[in-house]
Amino acid sequence: MADVGILAATKAAQHPIHTLLDGPRGAKPKKKLSRGNIIVYGTLFVFAMYYALPLYVMIVTSLKGMPEVRMGNIFAPPLEVTFQPWVKAWSEACTGINCDGLSRGFWNSVTILIPSVILSVAIASVNGYALSMWKFRGSEVFFTILMIGAFIPYQIMLYPIVILLREAGLYGSLTGLVLVHVAFGMPINTLLFRNYFSSIPEELFKAARVDGAGFWAIFFKIIMPMSLPIFVVALIIQVTGIWNDFLFGVTYISSPDAYPMTVQLNNIVNSVQGVKEYNVNMAATLLTGLVPLAIYFASGKLFVRGIAAGAVKG
């Protein structure tokens, strides 16, 4: 049996160009309500329960008033639905003396997010491309050093980076913060792209070289269009990481007026004294999560498009 498997793999590897990404993957669907289907959907539902339970608790809690939250049962649906916690989280919760909720930092977060994500995904994808297809002497040494960077807890690098930014004259500026996000997103994303690109059949690359295409032409015309799913993954990682970042935003931006939204989230949730308004905390978390969540839903289409693009190429 094993021999047959290897044979199959070899057989397929011989015709990669024509067959790459040209259609649905996975086993063919069996007829409805077969045993296999029940197992597939059953497993998915069980896992979905585990993943959705906390979301359910958060939503339910965010729709209750505080007296009801204190009454106890976290799983019970609200007796009386109120949107007050959402309103409060968005526009009324106080951060020190400013009482305008999460809305205060929303646009700041967007301002930080967009350049950081675009730049970091762009650089990481080019890195991955160069590392997988245009290696040069020493490229792997740099890559290995970079990979060690993936394992360094951010907080350790806080002060050395402050010093670097100060010396570069970028401390406290948006540019400085964007560069920090790009640097810290680089290890994982470069690895992601490098490993994905290295599984692209080499014949494609060779054929393009024969046609006289250069570094950038191959990247933009061949590699990028067939790598949408991995771009989606990188986008998901970067949007989430940068949007939820608190430490860098608050440390490397020196004006409270430009702080990202997570500073308000932290302030709403982490106030150490006084009564904890759990319902507002839950609403604030869900509100903060909306941007990455929107990206996830939108990315579903890109996942599918990735297949379609491959199909056109094939």
């Binding site: 996975g26 296999g36 106890g72 245009w134 740099f142 807890p153 980076i161 470069t190």
Partner: protein, 309 residues
């Protein structure tokens, strides 16, 4: 040369030496400048800075006041650090296996052309989007014996059911694991799914023609083909494990007592709570040493042997 026989990701080292390639590679080198800068100046520079200051008695501010190995002696004489390492090993082992297995299974199931793929994918992935500041609290609630899971199961009739991981020092790490897997597996599933989408349809056809069962096809053919994807996933999970901090702070604050402390938290507490940068740097240096011990063999396997090809 060898280029026709090797895959681009693995064996171009030999081809690079061709003079005609050298010039064309200039674009690649220029394109890699940001990476080189980040690797050398930020990560290597920052790491050396950290190691250097771990031999000092820096308190609130970094100061070059040498104390030799004093910080390391204190570190290894501290019970909290030892407990942290043990906890990380335990959490790391189960988290690594759990995330890989669940991530792959979910991706494989989603890849079977099921209805509602987008819905399922979003459900599995959404925890990744939410800040741990509050999700730690939600898991605290769910695992709370008085109004969480335990009380619900008891109400259903199983009155002796006991599940109180967060208040029991000997199993608190498993309580963290439940939340850790919840948050982390979605992304790994996505990476696996992207990898599966890159697998050739012909492989499936060939396997079916040869009468190989679905599970066997995954285990024998698909998984070996997805090696680079697994490497990515592995590094991502491992990096997350080493940096484990927010989850612990949000869910247990290292308690009960010190029973769920982890190294990254030890570093933060000594650096910023205890205002003892030197001690924090010594602990982070030890963390880095452990990472390097794991990464160097990997890097050697990945690139080392092929240099002279």
């Amino acid at each position: 040369m060898t280029i026709t026989q090797t895959r681009p990701g693995e064996g171009q080292g030999g081809a690079v030496r061709r003079p005609s390639r050298l010039f064309r590679n200039m674009s690649a080198k220029v394109a890699m400048l940001p990476l080189i800068f980040t690797a050398v100046v930020i990560f290597l520079g920052g790491t050396l800075w950290t190691v250097l200051y771990s031999f000092t008695g820096s308190g609130l501010l970094p100061r070059l006041e040498w104390v030799g190995l004093e910080q390391y002696e204190r570190l290894w004489g501290t019970r909290k650090w030892i407990v942290s390492i043990q906890n990380l090993a335990l959490f790391g082992f189960f988290s690594l296996i759990g995330t890989l297995v669940i991530g792959f299974i979910l991706a494989a199931l989603l890849d079977r052309k099921i209805r509602g793929e987008a819905v399922f994918r979003s459900i599995f992935l959404y925890p990744f989007a939410l800040s741990f500041i509050v999700t730690g609290l939600v898991w605290q609630w769910i695992l709370n014996p008085e109004f969480g899971l335990q009380s619900v199961v008891r109400e259903l009739g199983w009155s002796t059911f006991t599940f109180d991981p967060l208040n029991n020092p000997s199993i608190v790490m498993y309580g963290l694991l439940i939340a850790g897997l919840w948050q982390g597996t979605g992304l790994i599933m996505c990476i696996m799914l992207a990898g599966l989408r890159g697998i050739d349809e012909d492989i499936w056809k060939a396997a079916r023609v040869d009468g190989i069962g679905t599970v066997k096809t995954y285990v024998r053919i698909i998984i070996p083909m997805m090696r680079p994807v697994f490497v990515t996933a592995l590094v991502l999970i491992a990096a997350g494990i080493v940096k484990l901090y927010d989850l612990v702070v949000a869910q247990t604050s290292g308690g009960p007592g010190i029973s769920s402390e982890v190294p990254a938290k030890y570093v933060m507490n000594t650096m910023f709570g205890g205002q003892n940068l030197g001690q924090g740097f010594a602990a982070s240096t030890m963390m880095l040493v452990m990472v390097v011990i794991i990464l160097i063999p990997w890097a050697y396997l990945e690139f080392g042997g092929k240099k002279n090809g």
